[in-house]
């Protein structure tokens, strides 16, 4: 159902689904984690959670008037902003971080950007018309049913996600702009798999299941009904909780730069990856980054091996070699115990 005024279901009112909520918050704290893939059947509040995350997002300081949302003071800028910086016209402004949606069936030109044909024909000048990848820069890029995305769109996403840059070489346009985004995808695994390449680009993955506990199920329905009856009142009720979350995220972001992962934490990450037989060190990096974000939410500036073990349930599931006969659920407890033994 569509609400007229952006009456969004508050994030903090979502019942259960702790892993999903944690993954989303950690990504907001540390965007370099690389996004999250949320897998689960229909009706598990996947989309609700992502959309309601928007309200908790911090502000960004960007260069005024840039359609690509170039961050102020960043080393990566679009050609216009490089021009602005070099001519001293780089005034900054605060804008809230957004959730930019990439709908299925989007065309290549809409995603990557394209030649502004109208402009070309009427003015005889070529102009770049930014696409979704430009809008997503510095923001969250949300793809619902990401597994149903067409191959050539996935290629575009992969390129941008890998480099943080969108290169356009098409329709007579040659253009480059930064495109760093938190990629959030939701999917129903029954409808098909994700290409391994894209799967690998997600920093975290969580599998959500429909709530089984009867009491909680009732709670979900009650809250939902309450929200639909009186959205404003409902939101009011949770505003304190929302503020607390917002502050948590902000505080964590503020100390994130001071968070240090020492040798023991790095060692723990590497050990876990090797132990689970995961390919590539992208997993190691994701473990450290996520653990750093986690430590920051705990108000700590030192990452301990336990943090690494704690976040492994978010970092590892989609990276482990697929074995259809085994449940891919990771036993964090066991892992923590194992790690304890290993490190001691």
């Amino acid at each position: 159902m569509k609400q007229k005024n952006k009456a969004v279901y508050p994030f903090s009112a979502i019942v259960g689904q702790e892993n999903m909520k944690e993954a989303l918050i950690l990504n907001t704290v540390n965007p370099s984690i690389g996004g999250v893939l949320i897998r689960g059947e229909k009706g598990t509040a996947k989309s609700t959670a992502v959309r309601s995350l928007a309200e908790l997002l911090p502000d960004r300081f960007v260069i005024d008037g840039c359609p690509c949302g170039c961050a102020h003071g960043s080393l990566e800028l679009c050609p216009e902003c490089e021009e602005r910086v070099s001519t001293g016209k780089d005034g900054g402004t605060y804008v809230p971080m957004r959730v930019v949606e990439l709908p299925l069936g989007s065309t290549e030109d809409r995603v990557a950007g394209t030649l502004d044909i109208e402009h070309a024909i009427s003015e005889g000048r070529k102009k770049f018309e930014p696409g979704i990848l430009a809008m997503a820069n510095g923001n969250i890029l949300y793809v619902d049913e990401v597994n149903l995305l067409e191959d050539h769109i996935v290629d575009l996403l992969l390129d941008a996600a890998a480099m943080g840059t969108n290169f356009i070489e098409r329709e007579g346009i040659s253009y480059t702009h930064p495109s760093r985004f938190i990629l959030i995808g939701t999917m129903n695994p029954e409808e098909g798999d994700l290409r391994p390449q894209l799967l690998d680009r997600f920093g975290l993955a969580v599998d959500v299941e429909a709530e089984r506990d009867e009491g909680r199920r009732t709670e979900i329905i009650l809250r939902r009904m309450e929200f639909e009856k009186d959205p404003e009142g409902f939101r009011e009720k949770y505003s304190g909780e929302q503020d607390r979350l917002r502050k948590l995220i902000n505080d964590a972001r503020n100390i994130l730069n001071d968070v240090v992962a020492g040798a023991d934490a790095v060692k723990a990450a590497v050990r876990i990856s090797l132990h689970l037989g995961v390919d590539g060190h992208r997993a190691d990096l994701a473990l450290i980054k996520t653990a750093s974000a986690y430590a920051a939410t705990q108000g700590r500036t030192a990452v301990v091996p336990k943090d690494v073990a704690h976040v492994s349930k978010l970092v590892m599931p989609h990276r482990m070699r697929r074995n259809p006969f085994q449940d891919s659920n990771l036993d964090t407890k066991e892992l923590e115990e194992w790690l304890e033994m290993e490190i001691r």
Binding site: T107, E108, L115, I117, E150, E191, G192, P324
Partner: protein, 640 residues
Amino acid sequence: MVRDGLRKYTFPFTGIKNNETPKKAVRCALASPNVKSMLICGPGGTGKTVLAESTGSLAPERKTHVIPLGATEEMVFGGIDLEKALGRGERVLSSSILGRADGGIVIAENLNLMPEHLAYKLLNATETGSITVEREGISATYHSDFLLVATMRPDEGALSEHLLDRFDMCVFTSPPKDLDTRAEVVQSSLEFHDDPEGFVSRHRKEEAAESKAIAEARGRSRYTSIPEGYCAAISEVCSGLNVAGHRGDIAVMNCARAFAALDSRDVANLEDLKDAASVCLEHRRNDDGAQPAKEMPEEENEGPGEESGEPEGKSPGESGEESGEQQDGPSENRDRECNASGDRQETPDGDPPPPALDPEEEIFGIGEAYEVIDYLSRDDRGPAGNLGGKRAKDRSDGRSGRTIGYRIPKGRINDIALCASIVAAAPHQASREKGGLAIVIEKGDLRERVRERRRGTTILFVVDGSGSMGAQKRMVAVKGAILSMLKDAYQKRDEIGMVVFRIDRAEEILEPTKSILRAYKALEDVPTGGRTPLIHGLLKGHEILGGKASKDTMPAMVILTDGRCNVSFTPGKPPLEEMLSTARALSGTGIKFIVIDTEAGRLRFGLALDLCRSLGGTYLKLDDLNAEHIEKSVRIAIKE
């Protein structure tokens, strides 16, 4: 190379140290005013390009032109002259590659990668010497007489027989046969690249003498004659090789005259005829190629080992699709290939130790691969034509896929091709209100792109691994068939998966992948033995492919079985009955089914055919897959 001011130096013809037969053919083509086209085939890195380009160095008076792969039709044959249309609003035929090439040489590399209609038009032009343009309001015919030198790598795809037959000559390059020659070839290649000027000047004298000889021969060959009796001999050779049509006969005569002229004679002799036949008939022969025809001459006058550079077997058309064999061309290498697969049958080697086998289980080797027919687009049985059509490509409606042309848009325009629109607007500019611009594009000028999207095909092999497949080593043949289909899928870049059903379950031993290496490994380890849970196989296959049917992919299930299902899925149900009802239920799921009947021996039940009918799929016998078998049986049918 071409004198277009980009690269000044061409590798000199006289600097080529190997490929003696192709070299002879090049001289012959240049020495004959009647030879219009020549195809150079060969694996990569065996000197095709060097040979093709050396024609320019040998005949400096004839200008060389190159047709790049991306060239569009109007640039090759002619279209509207954009500049004139813009400047004066006139519709004039533009300058084109063939328009400029009259009297010259045209090089078209990788002809097999060129759009087929373009290649046809090109070869037609070589035969008629005239080109007609009908497009963008231009209607014109012009004359252009040129020598076409084309190259191709057979492993990248074959040319159709018709196209092949249009070539006057066809030669095959091969790697140097002995070490000394090889070192020499490599050394001269290095030298040329490091110091082209020095290299060319070192060969200048020789090269000049050679090109003078050719120019003289070209003059002389007009007057060279062929003794009367020889014409009949040529016809006999041609029919012995089952060469269709008369192009072959004529080409042999023309080449024989040129060979005679190159030898400063006015009358061709038997030697000339043999040489001519070897370069003109090989690509046209239609016999089974088992033995060289009785008149086919052995090469006598060339260096050692040269004759093995000549293929003795198949026409390149056939070999083009067998990437394994034709790469090698010479028969000795083909033996190597055979040996390799022979070894495989004895010991399935590979590093990992063979998995522990059930007592009743066996692992068979992989039979030899062959060229398969286009089994996916056959629709000769059953009503499953809904997904038919050609497999790889679809015109796409959206803005995805690659541009293959332009059209006048219908309805809403959303995918404008700017350059094509400018071309369309060009002739009207004189009469338009400009408003500061040089070109005014109006709505009627707008062209949109026609895009083509590859529809990926996911092919799932559902393989019967039951004990009956072990009988008479049937599994060897089945594995050979799968390998052949894998090769085919590789060339068409499809996605492949594999399911094996046996004992009491179906197992996905390969999730759909594009990595053929993985597929091959999985194939190697397919075990045999136990009962036949065919229904399990069908359901597993559906589980894997079910979600794949979309506008982007076409899923196909290739079921290799004898249909003797003897395990039911639902306990208590009769297996055969359940198999057929399951099959009927699957028939409308958007998956294309191909049933390959592996039944052999005298006693046949024909159950696979029943299965196929229920699935609404395409039915083939294992032997039907082999394109060569089909061709042969068709040929026999025609003759009788």
